[in-house]
């Protein structure tokens, strides 16, 4: 626990002013129990939620990064699930925590947060034929599932994370843990080789309540991004194709196939009325 209070006075003196000592522990020591449990709990949560980021920066640096993040952005939600919601923002403000792998670290932080969203974010009713009947593509608007994240990345973080998880063993975290006696255990393991630079478009989603990530072609990603931003189906497709350099593709057929796949995956929902 910090030795100085927010006003510069000794924390021990502040503790004595409102906490009773007992025959074994001083006021400061009694407060320290809560301090220790708090940090163990929140650090353990981030430790479990970000195995990929941990593998990139290293265990020691990850704990320092997590401590700095939580000091700047303490939990603002009743649920620990949201603890990492501002981690990307923090890392953009203070990229030194990711050095020398700033870009890779940011990609991984975004990817791992997307998995938290995919795990338990809301699912809307899917688009049906009746929703689109008689609506021309120029006017047809749709929504994407709230649990679906679209990520434009510079590194193959998906394959890297799979390798990291395979190495660690995918143990489930029990959120109901009441308290902790020790810091998260550092595991001695062979490091997984960091991924090479690779332009990547990824959809992070769930299907049948299982987490999946799907690599997308750039044009598919562009269409989905356009739909997410509220473009009509026609406009999203036209804008995506305007950027493509691939000319020998039957785009009408390709786009039809993509929409068929996305519907089968349950990604497409009716627009808000």
């Amino acid at each position: 626990m910090q030795k100085r209070w927010t006003d510069g006075s000794k924390t021990s003196a502040v503790a004595e002013s409102f906490v009773k000592p007992n025959d074994r522990l001083s006021s400061f020591e009694r407060l320290e129990i809560y301090n220790r449990v708090y940090w163990f709990r929140v650090l353990d949560c981030l430790y479990d939620d970000y195995p990929g980021l941990r593998a990139i920066v290293g265990e020691k640096k990850f704990l320092d990064l997590a401590t700095a993040y939580l000091a700047k952005y303490p939990s603002a939600s009743f649920t620990l699930r949201d603890l990492g919601s501002r981690l990307e923002k923090f890392l953009r403000q203070e990229p030194r925590w990711l050095a020398p792998n700033e870009e890779l670290g940011l990609d991984m932080a975004r990817f791992e947060w997307a998995q938290i969203i995919a795990f338990d974010d809301a699912a809307l009713p899917q688009l049906t034929t009746d929703d689109v009947l008689d609506t021309p593509p120029a006017k047809l608007r749709v929504r994407l599932q709230p649990y679906l994240s679209l990520l434009e990345l510079n590194y193959g973080v998906d394959k890297f994370l799979l390798a990291v998880k395979k190495r660690e063993g995918d143990t489930l975290r029990d959120e109901a843990s009441n308290t902790f006696e020790a810091m998260p255990q550092k595991k001695r393991q062979r490091p997984v080789r960091l991924p090479k630079r690779e332009r990547l478009h990824l959809a992070v989603h769930r299907y049948d309540n299982q987490l999946y990530y799907k690599r997308l072609e750039p044009e598919a990603f562009a269409i989905l991004s356009g739909l997410k931003q509220g473009r009509s189906v026609e406009k999203a497709c036209l804008e995506a194709l305007a950027k493509t350099r691939r000319t020998k593709v039957d785009w009408a057929r390709q786009i039809r196939e993509w929409f068929h796949d996305w519907s089968a995956l349950g990604w497409i929902c009716p627009a808000k009325k």
Partner: protein, 283 residues
């Protein structure tokens, strides 16, 4: 007491917590369990696997909700967002009663994710009771408030913890989730007789009992919920049953969780105390 207004006149026996490491066993083997306790906040989500598992469990089992983040003792008003999400869950589970803790844990929109002890003052009791009444009115389900284990006491306290708990539940007209292990842990940390606590709470308001394990350190005991129930706590449980009668009992095991059978067998040890109490009551 069995079947009282604070457990919605239900007559639940021995239950265990619904925990992630046991999901597969429960859904595949369908063991006989009287009831499960869920941590409300784990299921106050908008979709996905947690709710899928919960719905499958609800098809086969009785479920009671137990919260860890309502913070009845907070000086801030209860969060309406939290209450709305909680009410949605209450409708889903049809929980006969709902519990949370006599504690605070958040201030100015920042959360500690802990159950922090309160100063035992009349002003704090009044504020806490008002929060409980507000929650009870909104959720439309009986509420039991649980005593927490604690590692600090405050100069500002005007009464003992059990006097404070009694004051709160009378003002709020709510039930008590009597955590026998927490009483033991706090008694060792603060130097009071745990039987004074047990003897001096309003027994007719006890709607549920918690038992659990804890960890001993050199200068204090920590409420870790990662061990079997220790003998002093079993003895206190037996004494509690004499005072309150056969009451819904839940074994908490939340960390270093062993197999389902090990947890369930530990919980079922409570039956021998319950049976003895029933025999004594009949005699």
């Amino acid at each position: 007491m069995p079947a009282n207004p604070f457990n919605n006149f239900s007559d639940y026996g021995i239950g265990i917590g619904l925990r992630v490491p046991h999901y597969r066993h429960i859904l595949e083997k369908k063991p006989v369990v009287d009831w499960f306790e869920i941590i409300s906040e784990n299921f106050m989500v908008d979709g996905g696997r947690p709710l899928e598992v919960l719905d499958q469990v609800l098809e086969q089992y009785r479920v009671v909700q137990h919260g860890v983040a309502m913070y009845f003792g907070s000086a801030d008003r209860l969060s309406r967002t939290h209450l709305k999400k909680l009410k949605r869950l209450v409708k889903r589970t049809n929980t006969p009663w709902l519990s949370d803790h006599l504690c605070w844990g958040s201030v100015d929109g920042r959360y500690t994710h802990d159950l922090l002890p309160m100063p035992y003052t009349f002003a704090a009791a009044k504020t806490t009771a008002a929060n409980i009444r507000e929650a009870s009115d909104f959720l439309e389900v009986p509420i039991c408030v649980e005593n927490v284990s604690s590692y600090a006491e405050f100069h500002a306290s005007e009464m003992t913890e059990w006097e404070f708990l009694s004051e709160v539940v009378e003002l709020a007209d709510c039930g008590i989730l009597l955590d026998v292990n927490n009483i033991y842990v706090s008694s060792q940390n603060h130097g009071f007789n745990p039987y004074d606590y047990l003897n001096n709470v309003p027994h007719h308001r006890v709607g549920q009992i918690h038992i659990a394990g804890h960890s001993k350190f050199e200068k204090y005991i920590l409420d870790t919920h990662d061990h079997p129930v220790l003998d002093p706590v079993w003895k206190m449980y037996a004494h509690a049953l004499k005072l309150v009668g056969k009451t819904a009992t839940l074994l908490e095991w939340d960390d270093r969780i062993p197999t389902f059978d090990e947890v369930h067998n530990e919980a079922l040890k409570a039956n021998k105390f319950v049976e003895k109490q029933v025999q004594n009551a009949a005699a």
